[in-house]
Amino acid sequence: MPNVTLAEATRLAVLQEMRRDPRIWVLGEDVARGGLFGQYRGFLEEFGERRIVSTPISESTIMGAGLGAALVGTRPIIEMRIFDFVMCAMDELVNQIAKIRYMFGGQARPAVVVRMPHGIWRNSAAQHSQMLEGWFAHLPGVIVCCPSTPADAAATMVAAIRSDDPVLVFDPKNLWGATGDIADDIAPLEFGRARHARHGDALTMVSWSACMPLAEEAADALAAQGISVDLLDLRTLAPWDADAVLASARRTGRLLVAHEAVTTAGFGAEIVAHVAERVAVRATRVGFPSVPIPFSPPLEAALRVDAAKIVSAARGLLAT
């Protein structure tokens, strides 16, 4: 399928899987109408209201009911609408879904997919723009996915749906409209394997999700200045492709991690720490300052990562 948007790519992926397996269903607010972003468009008509369940505004129960339904053998896709609302369902996610397999000695199969569209988009301010994906990489018991391309977003959905583990999918809101080609028969993504987006040897750059196109833009700008960047799109944070990052950092001796999220104690810290524990490397991170996300465009722009900030951090790193 050539040139589809990321939103449409995920729609086609879920469609493919739901046609294959009648145990797969979707629950969340406004999904009957096609979801807030059209990612379930036409599903009600094809699958009916038993499999496309528009729910009350009851996030705790959307999450917890998904878990319960998985425990009896169905395969729910839990739609959180916007990431920030998962804060209303954290007991169900953190204390129940992430722990149930372990706590019960392996008896439970919490085969849920939790979709949480995240990130800065359209000046949505502090309660609708957060990026806390790093939190979940610190939480044992869940798979954490942060795709950045239509092909990867589609493959992520297929892998997430087929997984018996809880898979958290952070749909990048700012990239819903990004276009690319996807396969007609979408194969599952392999969790924990980075995508090598650019090859180079002056500097290793690591990114994911909505920051990834900015990293590519920065890498291209640097290439134009004669600096060749080895750029990795992590795609999943738990598990994450430490081997690929280490191999690259060993080669270049310089590591830059860029993410939309707050820098302090973000997942970039894990990457830098993991590498620095093993390789003598010069490293730096580019992310959001420790500030909530403001509404006004110039305020937002002052804080958020862009390609220019990545370029300047990269040049700073190369100068050391």
């Binding site: 729910t55 949505s124 502090a126 309660q127 509404f295 006004s296 110039p298 305020l299 937002e300």
Partner: protein
């Protein structure tokens, strides 16, 4: 003019200001001047106006995502609100909040909220604090019919009843939550029955009848302020627009929308006032004044300076920064 007419005229004036504010802001949004989405309350103005007419300035208010009307009726400055919607310096929140996070503590408006039912726990806590401080101020907590399916509704009402807190809960029931009819996701007999089961006496009212909302609220506020504990007002109304400024709401049945237009609270209140002998010109002037006021605010906001980028780093924390 009879006292009653004067009061109703004041209500109408506020309703016209709310509508004009939102129509103007929507036009600004359509013209690409206002960043981010707006949640208009057009068609619901009688609830905001009728409820807040019974609040003192030191009473507190918590609101939801659809809060322009609540803020204006509580006395928030329209100019600063418009600047906030435009993300400009001088906005109610310095441009940090935008439409969904309008707050004006100087008039007791403790904030809109981007999380459905997010204002409920805050409201009961504010009431508990006021009670502790020996104040006779009360708290008004506004939320939609979609909010009654989230846990904080149960927790907050139980809490308020338990500690006999001075809270007036107002459920603004427009029949819809975003794009879903709330009847299709709500079991049982509805918000009033739920409130009663939690020990909170409830009153239902036609929320498009400003005089009825005003009268019902007056009685409830009296009881709440007198220390009788919390009350809930269930006001049935209709959202004449889509969910947000980018939603044309084309999915609604045409006859439903047409019927609702006939039931427009502004039209209805005008009819009442005409029957009481108020001249049409007086009524027309209220709308014209309101539109003029808001157009001027729009023009100002559109050319107002942006906040200094350095302010982006301020107000994260206070003295521990």
């Amino acid at each position: 003019m009879a006292t009653n007419s004067a009061r109703l005229l004041a209500l109408l004036g506020m309703m016209q200001r709310i509508r004009a504010f939102e129509e103007t802001a929507m036009a600004g949004h359509a013209a690409g001047e206002v960043p981010g989405p707006l949640h208009p309350s057009i068609g619901q103005e009688a609830v905001a106006a009728g409820v807040c007419a019974n609040l003192r300035i030191d009473d507190r208010l918590t609101s939801n995502h659809r809060g322009h009307g609540h803020a204006l009726a509580k006395g928030a400055d329209a100019a600063r609100m418009m600047l906030e919607l435009y993300g400009r310096a001088g906005g109610s929140c310095g441009g940090k909040g935008g439409s969904m996070h309008i707050a004006d503590f100087s008039v007791g408006m403790l904030g809109a909220n981007g999380v459905v039912s997010g204002g409920i726990p805050i409201a009961v806590g504010a009431a508990q604090g006021l009670q502790m401080l020996g104040s006779d101020a009360i708290v008004c907590c506004m939320f939609g019919d979609g909010a009654i399916n989230r846990g904080p509704f149960l927790e907050g009402l139980n809490w308020a009843a338990l500690y006999r807190l001075p809270v007036l809960f107002v459920c603004e029931d427009n029949g819809v939550a975003a794009f879903t009819a709330t009847a299709s996701v709500t079991a049982g007999a509805g918000v009033a029955a739920r409130a009663e089961s939690l020990g909170v006496p409830a009153t239902s009212v036609d929320g498009n009848d400003a005089a009825a909302v005003d009268a019902a609220t007056a009685a409830l506020v009296g009881a709440v302020r007198a220390g009788s504990g919390p009350r809930l007002l269930h006001a049935r109304t209709y959202r004449l627009t889509g969910h947000t400024s980018t939603d044309a709401a084309g999915w609604r049945a045409a006859d439903e929308v047409a019927a609702a237009r006939d039931n427009d609270p502004i039209t209805r209140l005008e009819a009442v006032l005409r029957a009481e002998g108020v001249a049409q010109a007086t009524l027309d002037a209220l709308r014209a004044d309101a539109l003029r006021e808001m157009a001027a605010l729009r023009a100002t906001a559109h050319v107002a300076p942006w906040p200094d980028a350095a302010t982006a780093f301020a107000d994260v924390i206070g003295e521990n920064a």
